[in-house]
């Protein structure tokens, strides 16, 4: 029992929680902007798996994690551009197209992976960490929270950026209006379609980056269906956070901790079947939805394509 509670174990558990939380945080922050602007982005899982695949390919061939993050984000944006074209510009059903994109891209990346990597299953070297001076020397918390890849700190900083965007900028107001009363935004002379397109593209970039982090840093390799619902968890985070970025971070850490428990319990030699442990994050989600679901408010025009002059 002492092994389970030792400092190193606790640090590893927390470290794992942060690592698992980052893709959820990025996806959740991305989805939040889409939902704010009135687009329910079910395709986010497809954007994430594309980011994971292209991010891995980019990092593997260029031998640079940063290039991998870039290719991952670009991949996510490319999928988002398709989604924006189909669902925002020409107003096709967001749920139908979102599901089609997710299923198709999960299949496509699995096929590409099969022909490229299924014989060798190459791995990336462990990501180099940036230790924050002084803070990283705190026992337990230091190695757990302040010795991560640079992108982790940037992801957390994004929370502050998003708060600023939503509270202090014109864009933030426009996004809110595009989701709550698109016609009013249109009357004010601002293009609803363009505002929503920006939001969807941002979601794609964040989801792609989250996928790339999941594959390149979290796992060190790409395997088919690696996102395993992380994008959908991002949607839940955005729903429960009610438009507030800080709550996305808190939620991501809670879900990340339950994901990290999965590996931690195995390391500690606790003999629970993996399937049972894999249920943990989803159980946590359901528990939160049961407890707080009623308060998960969504924008009024969510899921409804905007068409000028339509009644």
């Amino acid at each position: 029992m002492s092994g389970f509670l030792s400092d190193t174990f606790l640090a590893a558990l927390l470290f794992g929680a942060v690592t698992a939380a980052i893709p959820l945080l990025l996806a959740g922050l991305g989805e939040q902007m889409s939902e704010k602007a009135g687009v329910l982005n079910i395709g986010i899982e497809g954007m994430m798996i594309t980011g994971a695949y292209l991010g891995f390919v980019g990092a593997y061939y260029s031998e640079s994690l940063w290039l991998g993050f870039l290719t991952g984000a670009v991949g996510g944006i490319a999928v988002a551009a398709l989604m924006a074209l189909l669902c925002v510009r020409i107003g096709l059903n967001q749920i139908v197209i979102g599901i089609a994109l997710t299923l198709g891209l999960e299949g496509l990346t699995a096929i590409l992976h099969h022909f490229q990597f299924s014989r060798s299953y190459p791995r990336l070297p462990a990501a180099e960490v940036t230790a924050i001076p002084f803070l990283s020397d705190i026992p337990v918390l230091g190695p757990a929270l302040f010795r991560h890849h640079l992108i982790v700190y940037l992801a957390v900083a994004m929370v502050v950026v998003m708060v600023w965007v939503y509270r202090r900028t014109q864009l933030g107001l426009n996004l809110q209006a595009a989701g709550d009363k698109p016609a009013a935004l249109d009357v004010a002379g601002i293009d609803v379609i363009r505002t929503r397109t920006v939001a969807v593209l941002f979601t794609g970039g964040m989801a792609g980056l989250g996928g790339a982090y999941l594959a390149n840093v979290g796992a060190g390799l790409f395997i088919p269906f690696i996102t395993n619902g992380a994008g959908f968890l991002g949607i839940v985070l955005a729903m429960l956070a009610r438009g507030r970025p800080l709550w996305v971070l808190i939620g991501a850490l809670i879900f990340g901790a339950s994901l990290s428990l999965t590996t931690a319990a195995q390391v500690a030699g606790i003999n629970i079947p993996t399937d049972l442990i894999q249920m943990l994050p989803f159980l946590a989600v359901m528990a939160m939805l049961v407890l707080f679901g009623r308060r998960a408010s969504l924008p009024a025009a969510l899921g409804i394509p905007y068409e000028r002059g339509a009644r």
Partner: protein, 364 residues
């Protein structure tokens, strides 16, 4: 979830336009077959990219899934569980509820049937045992849908997310049950006890086609008639079209919501049961055919029409049986079927949009 661009309304408008019948049919064919052809070309591009001859692949799929007698029988057998799933999704989608939790409901139904059937056949006459296993599977799947149903009915929580989450949970739970609870002590392979071939649903005539196909066809036709011809179906469609209006019309929307989820999940669970008592005989650990997700696009393609869904389920079965052969012979993973169906779904949606735009322009 309100769906403003429902296919039903756009079709009604088309009829009002009163074109000559021949031209109307020709146009329908064009906007259906055109996108399918384009999709075959696009998906073929994926095959070319990974160094597989697309013509060889499509040829093999058609030959193995449709033309060879054995393949065709496998295709028709595969339709049995898929028809039940399609029927379940049609009920939910027509009532405006997105049951995306098919995989969990299907697997839990399958595991319940696999766990109960081998014991039931020892105690009851054959057909009664299978019927009992079928009912147990249905009930379990119904119970599994209760949480999303209650959350949507009484708390207004979006069911898209809750059904998806319950699906992830259900798939894992089914695995846990197979590995820990219903494990067959007689074999080293982790799987449930096997229902002897003689005890399974009979096959049709002198073929290898399961009689489950007949049940599946009955289920989807009954669902179609229920949704289009009965007062209950009308109530559900009103809830789907406009939940607020439904409240004003005096309908008990929360109760109907729970009923929709129960019927939908129950039918999907029946699909799992049919697959076990008719075809597989047991559930192996980590078995997840992911039929639930694959059928969703099919139901969209059929515009939630039961009869059209039969046709599209047949197509999906051809692709999936043929794809399994092609996977063995050409080394293309079966996920290709998923890619193809997704591309068809997107191109068909675009074609429909362009068609509507064209119609509007002509009328204006």
């Amino acid at each position: 979830m309100t769906d403003n661009t429902s296919p039903a309304t756009s079709r009604a408008v088309d009829v009002v336009a009163a074109e000559p019948v021949g031209r109307e049919i020709g146009r329908r064919l064009l906007i259906t077959l055109g996108p399918i052809l384009i999709s075959l070309v696009l998906a073929g591009g994926v095959l070319v990219a990974v160094g597989v001859d697309p013509l060889a692949y499509y040829g093999l799929v058609v030959e193995r899934g449709l033309l060879s007698p054995l393949g065709l029988q496998q295709t028709l057998t595969r339709m049995a569980p898929l028809l039940f799933i399609a029927a379940g999704l049609i009920v939910a989608f027509r009532a405006g509820m997105w049951n995306l939790g098919g995989d969990g409901q299907f697997l839990l139904g399958a595991v319940s049937a696999a766990a109960s059937a081998p014991f039931l056949v020892q105690a009851l006459p054959g057909w009664l045992a299978l019927f009992a296993a079928f009912l147990i599977a249905t009930a379990v799947a119904m119970v599994w849908s209760l949480v999303p149903a209650l959350l949507r009915a009484y708390q207004g929580v979006n069911e898209i997310i809750t059904t998806l989450m319950m699906s992830f949970l259900g798939v894992s739970l089914a695995n846990v049950l197979v590995k820990l609870v219903f494990l067959d002590p007689g074999t080293t392979v982790p799987q449930t006890r096997t229902l002897a071939v003689a005890d399974r649903l009979p096959r049709l005539f002198e073929t290898t086609i399961t009689s489950g196909l007949v049940f599946g066809l009955v289920a989807i036709v009954v669902v179609h008639l229920m949704m289009t011809r009965t007062a209950f179906g009308l109530r559900l469609r009103i809830v789907g079209a406009n939940p607020r209006a439904a409240v004003h019309a005096g309908l008990d929307v929360p109760l109907l919501t729970v009923a929709v989820f129960a019927i939908s999940a129950g039918l999907v669970g029946m699909g799992g049961a049919i697959d076990i008592i008719g075809i597989q005989g047991n559930v192996r650990a980590d078995w997840n055919p992911a039929y639930g997700l694959a059928v969703i696009p099919v139901v969209f393609l059929a515009r939630m029409n039961g009869f059209a869904a039969i046709g599209f389920v047949f197509l999906l079965s051809v692709l999936s049986i043929g794809g399994e052969s092609a996977a063995r012979r050409l080394g293309v993973p079966q996920h290709f079927t998923l890619v193809l169906i997704s591309i068809v779904l997107i191109t068909l949606a675009i074609a429909e949009y362009l068609d509507n735009r064209l119609n509007q322009a002509r009328r204006a």
